[in-house]
Symmetry: C2
Subunit: 363 residues, 2 copies
């Protein structure tokens, strides 16, 4: 199958091809900050029911793309939850108000890990694959679709803690006292995440992002062993040619892990997502031309005024410079109390300011 | 006044003088993980009443020193709360179960900031000074006493948010849209924190630590302007000779800010506290011999077995090497669900392993 260059700005930037403006998408762009999302969510009942309803998941995936229109978002991202994998492996998942996600029972012993299933994404996670099919059909190539998964370390924290945690006492207890048990769990997760992302790619995901939300709670030694290495094994196993014969970029995003950009780049991923605690210009110089960068505006700038948002967008674009390989994004996801109109300001500013920078560079 | 070398291992290590074993203290060593603390806390009624009762504050400050005995903790740290400063400046402080601290009303406008008072630590925070007097008297020079304060940035986050925050929407809104207002608040806080720490030093604190708990939520540019610069101004203004004519080391601890160690060292502080997400050996090579380092074991190792704790202590001590200028500590505070007996194991391991390393180096 021949690999053709894409017309999509987002995919071009991921592959460090020239663009005439900087593409942008926003983590958690489909979510609670949108009134139209809250309406569908209420209709679905609970959050998990929404994730498992391909029709409604399609609707909310497309909402931000439709709301912000042309020169809005340059990619859609599948609406789902990272914890559908642990559920498909055999844990009980529910979302309780106030407490967040609960995975029951928490995995504490090797015997429980041995009992976990390796899901078949086509059947056990069929609702995700149906959503991917349907989103691609309705998008009709307007913008590309990004698929995603949690990283093995991040998924393992929820599976072993039984949900969210402040102290990570159970998973750290396992990491320090039973590292072989944790490795065994991560071996399983590497298989499941690779299967899951490859299925998304087969169904039409045009890029995939691995979210390592909790890599930042590890020491450098433990990050390498328990977060980075399993991610690298997944990157190696991903199908890099998509259903339409185009290259499928792989994005790694590890929050709070700016110290490890060079090592993350060496996994062979195409794009590194970075948060706002790392300087974008320095990150580009550190990583060089090998890898594109995605990010990294402080999400809290969406609490600021129009002028300040525009100024920050300009400064970030200038810090990256007129090189290929930048995808604009926040350094973390949208918060529920953010105003969609401020996001509209940001998107317009990225389009206008980056067009100017790319034009000035050419002339 | 002549400055004499101290006999205290902790003070010697802070000033990078030779020691025959590595001194150790533990952030939040006086606190809820200790049953004897929970008893006094119940007696005091609420948390704030405990902070404001010099006799009970003295009792809980001394509890861990007494519990772990000889070759236990090499310093005591004043039991108090960082939010007594905002309260003395004029905000209403209370601790509500579940919600954490509340400072009312939240500071949102310049006019409110102008109305804040500059407290006289001797009277407005007299309960802290009485506790310092009393702790020194009872300690009778057994181990040195560390005083502390929150950093201006960290205090400002609570004052503007009105308590804890997940999104920091109000303070970030101020930072981005009204930076002059935030600077004005921080000018006030620089005065108050410097006054407060100098009063602690006059009353007998033999070292002081500035905690920047929330520096890690800022971009590098904003960390420099809104967290580091105010801390540097405080360091400049501190009395570095204590009530007994000895040098008073200043410790800066900014959680999640391992990227800025060199810049933090250049404030002129004596010691940098580092968390476990930074490699201790690399930190030492980065900072060189100019500044001592304090840290940095992952607190979650206290959920692990005796053998694993010992192994980690050994590895950390070896990573630092047989150089002067290391104070052993966790990379963050004790959590309420931790077991005091595991801490005892850690303290013994630090004494034994570091004695061996220092002995081997001499011979």
């Amino acid at each position: 199958m021949a690999i053709e260059d894409s017309n999509h700005l987002f995919l071009r930037a991921c592959l460090r091809q020239p663009v005439n403006r900087t593409p942008v998408w926003i983590m958690r762009q489909a979510g609670r900050y949108l009134p139209e999302y809250r309406q569908v969510r209420a209709q679905a009942g609970d959050f998990l029911a929404l994730c498992k309803n391909p029709e409604l998941a399609t609707t909310v995936t497309l909402q931000p793309v439709e709301r912000f229109g042309r020169f809005g978002l340059d990619a859609a991202i599948l609406f789902s939850d990272i914890l559908v994998i642990p559920e498909a492996m055999g844990q009980n998942l529910r979302f309780s108000t106030g407490e967040g996600p609960l995975l029951e029972p928490p995995l504490t012993r090797a015997a429980e890990i041995e009992k976990l299933r390796r899901p078949d994404p086509e059947t056990d996670l069929g609702f995700v694959m149906q959503a991917v099919d349907e989103i691609r059909r309705i998008l009709n190539d307007r913008v590309p679709l990004i698929g995603f998964s949690g990283s093995p370390w991040t998924l393992a924290t929820y599976m072993v803690e039984g949900g969210s945690s402040k102290t990570f006492s159970r998973i750290k207890g396992m990491l320090y006292d039973a590292p072989d048990t944790l490795h065994r769990l991560q071996d399983r997760l590497v298989d499941c995440v690779a299967d899951y992302l490859n299925a998304q790619i087969r169904h039409g995901a045009q890029a995939v992002q691995i979210f390592d939300t909790w890599g930042g709670v590890l020491s450098p030694r433990d990050f390498r062993e328990f977060s980075l290495t399993p991610m690298a094994r997944i990157v190696e196993r991903l199908d890099r040619i998509g259903s339409d014969g185009q290259r499928v970029p792989v994005i790694l995003f590890a929050k709070g892990c700016g110290a490890f950009l060079e090592e993350m780049a060496s996994t062979g991923c195409d794009v590194l997502g970075i948060d706002w605690t790392t300087d974008l210009g320095k990150a580009r110089r550190r990583v060089g031309v090998s890898t594109a960068l995605q990010g990294n505006m402080d999400p809290a700038l969406l609490y600021a005024s129009e002028d300040r948002i525009r100024q920050e967008v300009r400064e970030l674009l200038e810090a990256f410079g007129p090189h290929p390989g930048h995808i604009f994004n926040l350094g973390h996801g949208m918060a529920p109390d953010m105003d969609p109109d401020r996001l509209a300001i940001l998107l317009t500013a990225v389009a206008e300011e980056s067009s100017r920078i790319h034009r000035d560079t050419k002339s």
